[in-house]
């Protein structure tokens, strides 16, 4: 299934906040049609890694290459246009827009009609608008009937938590990206929904043709989906490989156990 072509490559990536080094000397490769999971205890720097790749933060040093092209310094919307889209751990939907509008808004980058043309609704503008609708419906259709029918015209704020997570994914898909960065897609879901998401991520790769980089805490999900797992701790890559190899790696176990000891949950 997995191709050989390297799609995304991180080279000696570094990022600090104040004195705190959050990503340290990170090298990483994501190949086409691969599903790579990033795991690590809270505060390991996983979300920061996504923020670096999508251009929200600028790395202190190092390179981020997509198809051999360096992304460092590009504006986030450019990076998305080039093919990397993401979801947010904290959910950042456009709450006061409808479900369908959320997905349509994300198609800005690959559509062209300017304001003046849309003001007078030229035939070209109408055609493109129709295409936007079609694509939005297609992407929403990916989630079975979860986001279909009457939900299209509901405001995003009226969605349940799980559906918000789904809509985040649909929105990222609508940007026509090739790589999806999913930040804890199963967080806050019940076991059934978690199972659904696991299957969905597989389907995204198999049917949708996406390459996927996913952050996940739920080890069942990680086990179910990953071609490869990367474990981070304090911004350092401490293990990489198959799920079994990483899950049993003593350093990974210690990183999690060490956390358990200090965190009284």
């Amino acid at each position: 299934m997995t191709g050989d072509a390297t799609l995304l490559e991180l080279k000696e990536l570094d990022k600090s906040f104040g004195g705190l080094r959050v990503i340290a000397d990170l090298d990483m490769v994501v190949k086409e049609h691969e599903i790579v999971s990033v795991i690590g205890p809270n505060g390991a720097g996983k979300t920061t890694l996504f923020n670096l790749i999508t251009g929200i933060y600028r790395p202190d040093s190092g390179e981020i290459q997509l198809d051999g092209r360096n992304l460092v310094g590009m504006a986030p919307h450019k990076i998305t246009e080039l093919g990397i889209a993401r979801t947010f751990q904290t959910l950042r939907l456009f709450l006061n827009m409808t479900v369908k509008e959320n997905v349509m808004a994300a198609q800005y980058g690959h559509t062209k009609v300017g304001v003046l043309r849309s003001m007078v609704r030229t035939p070209g503008a109408r055609r493109e608008e129709k295409e936007i609708h079609r694509l939005a419906e297609e992407k929403l259709g990916f989630f079975g009937d979860r986001l279909m029918g009457y939900r299209w015209d509901q405001f995003a704020y009226s969605l349940s938590y799980a559906n918000r997570r789904r809509l985040e994914i649909a929105r990222a898909m609508a940007t026509q990206a090739r790589i999806l960065l999913l930040d804890e897609p199963a967080a806050g879901m019940n076991p059934r929904e978690t199972h659904e998401i696991t299957e969905l991520i597989g389907k995204l790769r198999d049917d949708g043709g996406y390459t996927i980089l996913v952050i996940e805490h739920d080890m069942h999900v990680v086990e179910g989906i990953s071609d490869r797992v990367v474990a981070l701790d304090h911004g350092v890559k401490i293990a990489e490989g198959s799920f079994e190899a990483v899950a049993t790696d003593p350093r990974v176990v210690e990183a999690y156990l060490g956390l358990r000891k200090t965190e009284t949950k």
Binding site: F17, N51, I56, F88, T90
Partner: protein
């Protein structure tokens, strides 16, 4: 080079700058904690000037005061600062607190509403005419000098009192329990409230202090320039905010330095730039744009990174 002009401009710049710094502090303190642009702040300053005027006249007026000049002056400041402080707390309680979780733009509109309300209430009650402070008899027309810098008494008073207030504020924020609570609240409001800090109280105190400083600035302005009117808060508020932005909004030393820069810039622009006395505000505006372009977070501000 005409040095005496230069020194005159410097003195008036320092005076103006002290006023702006005091106003800027109010903006900065509030912005630091609530991330709110308190448009009504300039009008609180105007109300302060009028409260001072009423205090002056309640104490027998400028010519036959009930007490000696120094006591009258002191009481004018006390009345203006207390009155404005209370007003500030009331404004926050009424116009901003109910809107903490509303869309970002709602409190700004509400602030605009308060500003209109205060301005026109002042128009209603004080009338459209200028009011004179006429404090020459009270204070005397003596000047003091530091080398070539000649200060009139109100100017000296303004600069010294402003410095005093700023030192007091800095100490308060750095040392006192409430001041520390203010700092942690401005750093992270939610975390502060989880740590058991009464955030509402901290916000009230912040508004009280900021507004009291504006009230003091209002009286100082009136003492230096002699005349007050109901619309005076608008431009002063604008300059105060410019000062806060220049210095880096949310930063206390930034507000002070920003105030002085704006005051001096305005004063020198008036004296030296073409048609400066007409266009001094435009020059200040240009300065603002320049600083924002070069350093959007201001001279002392930290570049804000929002956590994602």
């Amino acid at each position: 080079m005409n040095w005496s002009l230069f020194f005159d401009l410097t003195v008036s710049g320092l005076t103006l700058g002290s006023l702006y710094a005091l106003i800027a502090l109010g903006y900065s303190l509030v912005y630091g904690i609530l991330k709110l642009l308190n448009f009504a702040h300039g009008d609180v300053y105007m109300i302060g000037a009028f409260l001072g005027w009423y205090a002056l006249h309640a104490l027998g007026g400028p010519v036959n005061p009930t007490f000696t000049g120094a006591v009258v002056l002191f009481l004018m400041f006390v009345v203006a600062m207390l009155g404005c402080g209370v007003l500030g707390v009331a404004i926050e309680r009424f116009a901003y607190r109910p809107l903490r979780n509303a869309p970002r733009i709602a409190p700004l509109i509400s602030a605009l509403g308060v500003s209109i309300f205060l301005q026109n209430s002042a128009l209603l009650i004080f009338g459209a005419a200028f009011r004179d402070y006429d404090t020459f008899d009270l204070i005397g027309v003596k000047t003091y000098n530091i080398g070539q810098l000649f200060f009139s008494v109100p100017q000296l008073l303004t600069v010294v009192a402003a410095i005093g207030l700023m030192v007091a504020l800095t100490l308060f924020v750095a040392r006192s329990r409430l001041g520390k609570a203010m700092r942690s609240t401005s750093f992270d409001r939610e975390a502060a409230s989880m740590m058991g800090i009464d955030v509402d109280r901290v916000i009230s105190v912040t508004f009280f202090i900021g507004s009291a400083l504006a009230g003091a600035a209002g009286v100082m302005f009136a003492l230096v320039f002699g005349q007050i009117y109901h619309f005076m808060g608008f431009i002063a508020g604008l300059k105060g905010f410019t000062a806060a932005v220049l210095g880096g909004i949310g930063s206390i030393p930034g507000a002070m330095v920003g105030g002085l820069i704006v005051g001096l810039a305005e004063s020198y622009a008036t004296g030296y730039l073409p048609q400066g006395s007409t266009f001094q505000n435009l020059y200040v505006f240009a300065l603002l744009i320049l600083v924002i372009l070069i350093r959007p977070s201001g001279l002392f501000g930290k570049a804000a990174i929002s956590k994602v």
